[in-house]
């Protein structure tokens, strides 16, 4: 299941970067002027954006605004959780 493992790995990257973004955002809420924290936020936010883009290109949209196909609403084509993972 190469397709599944690739999507799982890409999705895991999305999870990792998203967690880092969430944690630094909590810190910035109480330290809005901290330059180091701000720099780290932009760094992990960029990583997350790239991870999401990589996942959406190969495995389909993560959110409905991630649909890239201009001819088809691919949001419906992904396997739903109760439909298995191998398309």
């Amino acid at each position: 299941m190469n397709c599944m493992s690739d999507c799982d790995m890409l999705l895991k990257q999305v999870f990792l970067t998203s967690f880092a973004v969430d944690d630094v955002v909590l810190y910035l809420d109480t330290h809005p002027l901290d330059k180091d924290a701000l720099n780290y936020y932009y760094y992990v936010a960029d990583l997350r954006e790239k991870a999401v883009e990589a996942y959406q290109e190969q495995c389909g949209p993560l959110m409905n605004d991630g649909v890239m196909d201009e001819n088809c609403w691919t949001w419906l084509q992904d396997p739903w959780p109760w439909e298995g993972v191998c398309g």
Binding site: L16, F19, D23, V24, Y27, H31, L33, D36, L47
Partner: protein
């Protein structure tokens, strides 16, 4: 001509040498004079004379000559129904043997005016007149002094009970009785079922509007209406401008004190009184046990929310709310300009000391920190090494006032890598606090 007009002719009072029949009965000696002039248009000497001597024997009334007309001492003889001419005065209850039927007599000055009939059993009792259109309708008696004044009808069962007068336009409308001493005073009507119950007066313009009863001692004082279900319950008066608005009741001991109105759903719930100047402003209610204690007002949107009390000296100053669990604890006040901003709490020992507070404004000065405390360096989660800075912080803790909780201020440090942060549960090594059995690191 009445008997007085016969007194004292200019050429003497005797006519043809004979005295009038009533003169001996009145013991009058009309030969003497002058006396008090009874009538100004009569010549002097026509007044009452002195008593005759010797006093003649009185003449019985039955033998007196009544051809000259009724005299003051002669009782008015009322004709019976059967003797009255049926063409002119037709009695609706005319029966041949109905001697007891008393028809109302006509007023000599106003024949169209029907004088109240006299009760055959109690001549002094004025019976209410009957309406010509509706004989069953009892018309209120007319006041002899002021014919325009409608006297309240008497209850046939209890003559002493004053029945409310009926409105001529709306017979079903009960008009309040008039006070006999002060006709301008509107007396509350009596409830027909419970005479002791004072019914509120009806507004003449709006019969459906219940006017509050007037206090007999202070007519200007508006008495609250009585609740029909609970007479002992004093209902708040209605605002004349807004009948739906419940006005606070007056304290019976201190009329100037405005008592909070009672909630109609929960009588035990004290509703805050309304401010006279600003009806939209909710005044704090008075505590019934401690009138000097100002109870916090209730928020109209959230009745369970206790609004901070107002300082009596500075109404604009919002006093901090009291903690319901610890009344001695003063909860931080809210900034009037920024309700979301929590103003620093005041130290109970040193009111001038401002404890560090949270503020959303970035320009707000960070709270004070202990000069001995410094951020810890990068700490390995597996090999925690105490640093002098951490030890120094423990020593500086003695300088902080007791009885307060402190949260050390976090500073930026070297964070975990992205691959390991999720597994650690945090990106900050200082916040890596795994739970271990028997204690925490």
């Amino acid at each position: 001509m009445d008997c007085y007009a016969k007194q004292g002719y200019p050429d003497g009072f005797n006519r043809n040498g004979t005295s009038y029949p009533w003169e001996p009965a009145m013991d009058l000696d009309m030969t003497m004079g002058p006396g008090t002039v009874i009538r100004p248009d009569m010549p002097i000497g026509s007044g009452p004379a002195r008593t005759m001597n010797p006093v003649p024997a009185p003449i019985p009334m039955s033998r007196q000559d009544l051809s000259a007309g009724p005299c003051p001492w002669t009782p008015v003889k009322r004709p019976c129904c059967t003797v009255v001419d049926s063409a002119t005065e037709n009695c609706p209850k005319k029966t041949p043997g109905n001697q007891a039927c008393v028809k109302p007599e006509r007023c000599s000055e106003m024949p169209s005016c029907v004088m109240p009939a006299k009760c055959p059993e109690k001549p002094s009792c004025v019976m209410p007149a009957r309406c010509p259109e509706k004989p069953s309708c009892v018309m209120p008696a007319r006041c002899p002094e002021k014919p325009s004044c409608v006297m309240p009808a008497r209850c046939p069962e209890k003559p002493s009970c004053v029945m409310p007068a009926r409105c001529p336009e709306k017979p079903s409308c009960v008009m309040p009785a008039r006070c006999p001493e002060k006709p301008s005073c509107v007396m509350p009507a009596r409830c027909p079922e419970k005479p002791s119950c004072v019914m509120p007066a009806r507004c003449p313009e709006k019969p459906s509007y219940v006017m509050p009863a007037r206090c007999p001692e202070k007519p200007s004082c508006v008495m609250p209406a009585r609740c029909p279900e609970k007479p002992s319950c004093v209902m708040p008066a209605r605002c004349p401008e807004k009948p739906s608005c419940v006005m606070p009741a007056r304290c019976p001991e201190k009329p100037s004190c405005v008592m909070p109105a009672r909630c109609p759903e929960k009588p035990s719930c004290v509703m805050p009184a309304r401010c006279l100047e600003k009806p939209s402003c909710v005044m704090p209610a008075r505590c019934p046990e401690k009138p000097s204690c100002v109870m916090p007002a209730r928020c109209p949107e959230k009745p369970s929310c206790v609004m901070p009390a107002r300082c009596p000296e500075k109404p604009s100053c919002v006093m901090p709310a009291r903690c319901p669990e610890k009344p001695s604890c003063v909860m931080p006040a809210r900034c009037p300009e920024k309700p979301s901003c929590v103003m620093p709490a005041r130290c109970p020992e040193k009111p001038t000391c401002v404890m560090p507070a949270k503020c959303q404004e970035p320009s707000f000065t960070s709270p004070a920190m202990c000069p001995c405390w410094s951020p810890a360096p990068n700490v390995c989660p597996n090999n925690w090494i105490p640093t002098p800075a951490v030890d120094a912080a423990a020593e500086c803790i003695d300088k902080y006032p007791i009885g307060m909780a402190y949260v050390p201020w976090q500073t930026w440090q070297q964070v975990y890598s992205v691959d390991t942060a999720l597994g650690m549960g945090t990106i900050f090594p200082d916040l890596y606090k795994p739970f271990t059995m028997g204690g925490c690191r």
